[in-house]
């Protein structure tokens, strides 16, 4: 007999039991409030821009602007300029597809997904179990990473699927996901906007809720 095997098994069982107990924990009131606060912060994501891109050149010292929302694409607009139209006009020279709202399936599923996360989070509040909350956190992290990849892929596709008959041939490129990059005569800067920050805030609050209930659980253990 290998005593160490027993020890390992016992230890694993203990840990699994701990996990079971952990997932079965009730959420504290503070955790539930944190989740609700998160949902409150998540809802404005429908209205706020998630990302913005600024294209600065000598001709446009104040920059052409592009704002990406959960459900739509919006160019900067002044009485003297329509930036989305201008960006598309300029991009046709290098054979880039025009940026059309209808080409972005994200604009259909993103609002749905955000709504679903709000519902799932509220479900965790009502049921009040750690397992439900962890579900939301894990799914949301996955969703966040997937969205980032999807956004990067968009940028990649626009910069690489260039019309071979375009008047100006450029090296295929990927506009920056974060930060600044020089593309032809434009300095292109991409930054996350308030919508993205709100989504991060939502996940942080959920993680805080997990942490608070977990800490409470640890205290309960020491108390008994």
């Amino acid at each position: 007999m290998n005593p160490s095997a027993d020890t390992v098994r016992a230890s694993a069982t203990r840990r699994l039991q701990w996990l079971d107990r952990f997932f079965d924990r009730d959420l504290t009131l503070a955790s539930r409030i944190l989740i609700i606060a998160g949902v409150v912060l998540l809802l404005p994501v429908y209205l706020a821009p998630m990302y913005s891109m600024t294209l600065i050149s000598n001709q446009f010292p104040d920059g052409l602007e592009l704002h990406i929302y959960a459900s739509r694409l919006e160019g900067g607009k002044t009485p003297a300029r329509d930036d989305l139209r201008e960006i598309n006009t300029l991009n046709h020279y290098i054979g880039m597809r025009p940026l059309l709202e209808s080409d972005f399936s994200e604009f259909k599923w993103l609002p749905l997904a955000i709504g679903a996360f709000a519902v799932l989070a509220l479900r965790a509040v009502v049921i009040g179990k750690m397992s439900k909350l962890v579900d939301v956190v894990v799914l949301f992290v996955y969703f966040g990473l997937f969205s980032l990849w999807s956004f990067y892929d968009r940028l990649y596709q626009y910069g690489h699927n260039l019309d071979p008959t375009a008047p100006v041939k450029v090296q295929p490129f990927t506009p920056p996901l974060f930060g600044t990059q020089q593309i032809a005569n434009f300095t292109v800067t991409t930054v996350p906007e308030i919508g993205s920050y709100l989504m991060v805030a939502f996940s942080m609050l959920l993680i805080a809720a997990v942490w608070h209930s977990a800490r409470q659980a640890a205290r309960d253990v020491t108390a008994t």
């Binding site: 009485p79 003297a80 300029r81 329509d82 006009t89 020279y93 008047p167």
Partner: protein, 642 residues
């Protein structure tokens, strides 16, 4: 009156002496002045320097005289920024080539732009429109200051001959003034031998009505006047609101060599019109319709117009900002006459008259004269600042005199180069002048610029008027010929730079390449075309010789400064479309062959490639249906219909 008489010979002699002296010593005098001013050079340079990228403080709209244009410059830099064509075709903006502006210009190819006048509300510039007169073809025009484009030309105005005393506005832009400089038989088609000038020739003073919403001009009232030469006008404001004043020369009713024949009497007249009374007379039906205009005869309808004696050969009439005084300057006297509006009203009440001209009462001069200001030789026009000073241009003396309203004392004088006509102070003809800057609009400029041969430009000199002493700051040179100008605070104007797509109501506008089409109906070929960086769609138009071709061109850009032109080789056509604008050009394809059309207004890196072909099949070569070109490599499919 006595002063006028005493001054008569002295003035004439002085004027001649000074004129000769100026001509004789122009060169030496100039060098001397330049030396004197050198001490102020750095100050002048700093106060007029507008660094690259920085913006000016005022707009200056200078009339372009017989060029038919208005020139836009910035003050204090004095940089010419844009030209607004009004009465003359101007290929630079395609003005006079497209259907709309061609029809607006009618059969005329030039006009003589004299007195721009910015629309007013409560006696101050509101920056909505600018009106301008055509001295040659008796017209008035309206420029929209939203897009700096000529929107309406009215005229030739019936009965008016030589519309010089125009286009000054009333304080709420109810009317713009108009007057005959060259009296002639009325209506314009009537004939009378020149010997009957004194009795059969008539002057006209008039008010052209302005729609307060649209700015649309229409005929208001006209008054038939004795055959003097009506010169310059000014509308009353504040207490004198409801009145208009015009100077006139040739009280002699002379013909022939006017230089002599019209300068024999000691005085001429200023016509004072109660335009509210004129309005009422029209409403009461007290008028005769002559050539479509409602004309008031002062003999039949008194109480509308009076005559005020003035120092001889007066030119400018300028109401003071408070509206209490009318300042009129006689070219051939060294004084400027100030009339009191109150005194005019009293004299009219008391019928303090000294006679009449064709039934129009002449008010006794001494009853209405407030002051005679000894400004200097050859006074012409007066402008005002924000500190109670008046500035009068002195043509013969080549100087500007600064004098105080109220004390009527001349406090400063500055020489200008040379022979100043009009002058323009910042909002200097409104109820609230802005001061700071004054422009001397000089007729002669010789030696002040690098030589350009015999055809010399005019000079616009910038003078600082903030301090006690006037300071010459900058010499600018202007296309012929600034007769008057308007200077307005930049913030008052709110120009657009793009015509928004939603606001384009032209039924022939198209915004999608799939709508670009060539349609044929009999011998009429209609093309709906798009211009966008860097192509025209369609880029091929096939027609038959003799077809009537109509091209509706829409610039679908929505970015400022992205203009496109459409020049058709050998067909004498060039139109320019601004972002979001649609223009129509019509022509008969009478020349067979193949003709390129191309973008004339540089737009982009591939501007040179922005072109297409008009293919005109010779007569008898077998008719072809009109077709459009194949779609470009990056463009949507193009449908050609037959």
């Amino acid at each position: 009156m006595t002063t006028i008489r005493k001054n008569r010979w002295i003035t004439a002699a002085l004027a001649l002496f000074v004129a000769v002296a100026i001509l004789g010593t122009a060169c030496r005098g100039r060098r001397k002045r330049a030396a004197v001013q050198r001490g102020d050079v750095s100050e002048a340079a700093v106060s007029t320097y507008v660094a690259p990228g920085d913006l000016d403080e005022f707009y200056l709209f200078s009339s372009g005289g017989h060029s038919g244009n208005i020139y836009v410059a910035g003050v204090p830099s004095m940089r010419h920024i844009a030209t607004i064509p009004v009465f003359t075709p101007y290929p630079g903006t395609g003005y006079g080539f497209d259907k709309e502006t061609r029809e607006m210009l009618g059969r005329y190819t030039w006009g003589d732009v004299h007195h721009p006048s910015i629309s007013q509300t409560n006696g101050d510039y509101d920056g909505r429109w600018m009106f301008v007169n055509d001295n040659a073809n008796n017209r008035v025009a309206r420029v929209d200051l939203r897009d700096f484009k000529t929107k309406q030309i009215l005229g030739p105005l019936p009965n008016v001959s030589g519309n010089h005393g125009s286009s000054f506005v009333t304080p709420n832009t109810e009317y713009i003034l108009s007057a005959s400089r060259f009296s002639a038989p009325v209506p314009r088609s009537a004939y009378a031998p020149i010997e009957q000038y004194a009795t059969e020739y008539k002057g006209i003073v008039a008010g052209v009505k302005v729609d307060p919403q649209s700015g649309n001009m229409s005929m208001g009232w006209e008054i038939v006047m004795p055959p003097f030469n009506y010169d310059l006008g000014s509308a009353g404001k504040g207490p004198s609101n409801g009145w208009a004043f015009w100077t006139s020369y040739n009280a002699e009713r002379a013909t022939g060599k006017l230089e002599v024949t019209s300068t024999q009497k000691d005085r001429d007249y200023v016509a004072a019109v109660n335009w509210k009374a004129a309005e009422k007379a029209i409403a009461d039906g007290k008028y005769k319709t002559i050539d479509g205009a409602k004309v008031i005869d002062p003999k039949v309808t008194p109480g509308v117009v009076w005559l005020m004696p003035c120092a001889k050969s007066p030119h400018g009439a300028d109401v003071t900002p408070d509206g209490k005084y009318i300042v009129c300057s006689g070219k051939l006297q060294s004084i400027t006459t100030v009339y009191s509006f109150d005194k005019i009203q009293n004299a009219i009440q008391k019928q303090d008259y000294a006679g009449n001209e064709d039934g129009i009462p002449v008010i006794r001069y001494d009853a209405i004269k407030e002051a005679e200001v000894n400004v200097g030789l050859g006074p012409l026009h007066t402008q005002y600042d924000d500190q109670g000073y008046a500035y009068t241009s002195l043509f013969v003396e080549s100087a500007v005199a600064k004098w105080k309203l109220g004390t009527w004392e001349v406090v400063d004088k500055i020489p200008v180069s040379y022979n100043i006509g009009h002058l323009c102070a910042a909002e200097g003809d409104t109820m609230h002048p802005k001061g700071k800057y004054l422009i001397a609009l000089n007729k002669l400029s010789h030696g002040r610029h690098i030589s350009v041969g015999p055809s010399q430009p005019e000079a616009s000199q910038l003078i600082g008027i903030s301090g006690e002493k006037m300071k010459l700051l900058y010499d600018a040179f202007t296309e012929p010929e600034p007769h008057y100008a308007q200077m307005i605070k930049v913030e008052t104007l709110k120009p657009i730079e793009v015509y928004p797509k939603e606001a384009n109501k032209n039924p022939n506008a198209i915004w999608d390449i799939k709508d670009a089409k060539v349609n044929r109906s009999g011998n009429n070929v209609t093309v709906k075309m798009i211009a966008v960086r860097s192509s025209f769609e369609p880029n091929r138009i096939e027609v038959n010789q003799g077809d009537h071709v109509t091209v509706h061109l829409t610039n679908i850009e929505q970015t400022t400064d992205e203009l496109h032109g459409w020049g058709l080789v050998d067909y004498d056509i060039n139109i320019v479309v601004d972002p979001g604008e649609t223009k129509t050009v019509e022509f008969v394809a009478d020349k067979p062959g193949v003709y390129a059309y191309y973008c004339t207004n540089f737009c982009s890196a591939l501007h040179q490639e922005m072109q297409g072909y008009l293919l005109v099949k010779p007569r008898g070569a077998g008719a072809t249906p009109a077709t459009a070109g194949a779609p470009g490599p990056n463009r949507g499919k193009l449908t050609a219909s037959k």
